[in-house]
Symmetry: C2
Subunit: 307 residues, 2 copies
């Protein structure tokens, strides 16, 4: 007897066969080569990673950073959140003026070993990969229907976006800065990115988290994303209000699966969010030889030494 | 604005507050003290853990095991699956006759570093904690309704069960031995444990996996469970046919949450399965200070050295 998992595709696979091939998404980036980085230490805690090639820029601030062959330490004389944040802001503004921090956001991210720990300092969002600190985001899967008739709202990013222009994206997703709860941020992003009214946005439900690690040209991206599901009425049409989305379409789940196993059209982190969705709703099962590898790959451990 | 997560309980928490306190379930067992164990090595691969106190029993089989201060090695002259399995069977049968392997099951488990890897040998299920090898299971959440009206079928284990008599359990759950697919095993367990006919059992959908590690008196239990959701009609009543279940009841989700955060009435691994369910359906969200710790605790890394 074969399992009655949902049909991955009407023409690509027989009923009951899991959609092998999704693993390609996890292979889009090689494993991180941590030998290329120094550990970034704040208050004796390992909170990030700095590219070795970048350390010359840190040496220009000997009153802020101590460096050895394996570590960049924010000096312990910077003894509290405000002192550390002010020193970091001065460094980052100087680098910005030198063109070292592209895409300044005017948004602060908390720096700590985890989202659930008190922040040791705040840092401009655009600088988080330079220090390889954890950055956060919130994502909303816009869903219509269920089973083989599930459709997922997919956005194509504006050609003018700084990161991943034109790539496929979720209905709603955004960074999770300091000073706003995940829930309030979700409401704000729903309104700005898809024109979703508060009454509808409040139906979103937390569903999972994913983590990701990517070696980008500017440094290490270490991310944790809070994922929500939002079941939408069939007649709802999203409407972008902030110019960040070129177009939206409602993609049948079979097309979503085929896309994920044959192309790199989705942003990397959004591909992981989609695989997480396929796992949670049973479009992938233990029959897929990659099932456990996929699940493990969605939530890799954050690569900081224990305190 | 507070999030519209489901009400954890009508009288225990205001609307929109996540059910803090579930973390107690993850604290029922202390972290594993790996210093108490030797690594079990087969074909130069780390596949398990043996209690130091148990090693005298292995020394009685010098033709099968090599021991040093940190390792128990199945001898490499046992060069293939059949040779290793035959040697292990001889050892285990001798131990069984000495009363060292209680609860002999006549079921074989595969021994390997992961479910998705070729097995190096087969091992009687009852012996898996003695060698701290991975054991597998399949679980089915029986669900009726949704949102605040969700109800979950819960079983109470028979007083005569060898493991965890009288504790609360799922609708359906069982070990996952060699020689039967996860899907076929699920169908069989649905029939035996809850009288669920094949037409209904086939509606089950894979939803997640959990892992667990427990230091039991007899050794280290390292488990990986495949979890399925099965939405049942409101008029369905389960009927146990194998004598392993004392009773079934349909537990409202608010009661389930209250139970999990105030008592240890559920089997440990089933408590994790229930928390996983609460995470996936949004009864817990980022507002819970333990949200990320709970999610991480559901799927700890399997503690074997990489090959």
């Amino acid at each position: 007897m074969t399992p009655a998992t949902f049909l991955p595709s009407a023409n690509a696979a027989p009923a009951g066969v899991s959609p092998a091939g999704l693993i390609r998404q996890l292979r889009r980036y090689p494993p991180v080569n941590f030998g290329r980085y120094l550990k970034f230490i704040v208050a004796d805690q390992h909170v990030g990673w700095v590219q070795r090639e970048f350390t010359d820029h840190l040496r220009a601030f000997p009153q802020v950073f101590d460096l050895d062959s394996a570590h960049v330490r924010l000096q312990n004389r910077l003894a509290d959140f405000e002192a550390r944040s002010a020193a970091m802001a001065e460094v980052l503004e100087a680098w910005r003026d030198q063109g070292l921090v592209p895409g300044w956001r005017h948004e602060f991210y908390p720096v700590a070993r985890g989202f659930d720990l008190p922040p040791l300092l705040r840092m401009e969002r655009a600088a988080t990969p330079l220090f390889g600190v954890l950055s956060y985001g919130v994502n909303v899967n816009g869903l219509v229907g269920s089973g083989n008739d599930l459709r997922v709202w997919i956005g194509r990013r504006s050609p003018s976006k700084q990161v991943d222009p034109n790539m496929l994206d979720l209905l709603v997703g955004g960074g999770q800065p300091m000073g706003i709860s995940v829930w309030d941020n979700l409401q704000k992003e729903c309104r700005e990115e898809a024109g979703i009214a508060p009454e509808m946005a409040r139906r979103a439900r937390p569903a999972s988290v994913i983590t990701l690690m990517i070696e980008a040209p500017e440094g290490l991206r270490v991310g944790l994303k809070f994922n929500y599901d939002l079941v939408l009425p069939a007649d709802f049409t999203p409407r972008n209000t902030d110019g960040e989305v070129a177009e939206f379409r409602l993609m049948p789940v079979a097309e979503l699966i085929d896309n994920l196993r044959s192309a790199d059209a989705f942003m990397y982190d959004i591909a992981l969010v989609q695989i997480d969705l396929l796992v949670r709703y049973g479009y992938i099962g233990p029959e897929d030889p990659d099932y456990l590898t996929l699940i493990a790959g969605l939530r890799q451990a954050i690569p900081f030494d224990p305190s």
